[in-house]
Symmetry: C2
Subunit: 113 residues, 2 copies
DNA sequence: CATCTATATTGACATGCATCTATACAGCTT
DNA sequence: AAGCTGTATAGATGCATGTCAATATAGATG
């Protein structure tokens, strides 16, 4: 079962308890978000007007080695938060808004009426 | 600055890049969510009708030692996702819906019109 | 083809973390 | 007060992970 499917099938946390499989799948994504560098990378990509960001733009924003940034991009890609596309010498990363949306829905808490 | 304040002040990821301080604060919370056991604990508490759950109810739901559960509860409490209250011999945990709500808002992605 | 740039992979290292056992603490009950 | 139950803390251990330097790969260009 694909990760996005599991995310999509997982009820909001406040609706019913997650089973072990759902929890494992969701935790993978949150773990990816649980690093300040990855969060900043994600926000850089997510907020970029054109929708895509060249790796070189990201590397320049941090005081970290290029392999480290590359590693974080890989993690974000593996959990389905980003996709990448190579064009000529450059690789461009894009947000996968569906994944972020599923997570947001998962955390949605019912209005306390 | 309190964590919930930082969460509240942090723009949605898709609006503008997080600065280092915001990212660090937000990452702490996501890191807490990045463990399957903690996610399940959180969903058990969040979905409980009365709003509060006794530790003994949680411990029984896992095949883990009592100290391990206690550790996870502490982590969830430290990042502001849960609060606890002792009454007689038992300790009851409650969700802090504001924290979950802030996270949800943070991940909200604008509708792709 | 040789070389240069952009990005990814590998391997090493230090730190972090999930888990356990053993123990401490808090509050009840007798 | 003594003992019992529920929960937390301390300390130990093995594994995961963030980082780097070194190297590999992909594509462009001279």
């Amino acid at each position: 079962m694909e990760l996005l499917e599991i995310l999509g099938c997982s009820p909001p946390l406040a609706r019913e308890p997650l089973d072990a499989e759902q929890a494992a799948a969701v935790a993978r994504v949150f773990k990816a978000l649980g690093d300040p560098v990855r969060l900043r990378i994600l926000s850089i990509v997510a907020s970029r007007a054109g929708g895509e960001v060249c790796v070189c733009d990201i590397t320049g924003a941090f005081d970290l080695s290029q392999p480290t940034i590359s590693h974080h991009l890989k993690v974000l890609k593996e959990v389905g938060l980003l996709t990448s596309e190579r064009r000529a010498s450059w690789v461009y990363y894009r947000l996968v808004p569906e994944t972020l949306g599923e997570l947001s829905a998962l955390l949605t808490v019912p209005a306390t009426v």
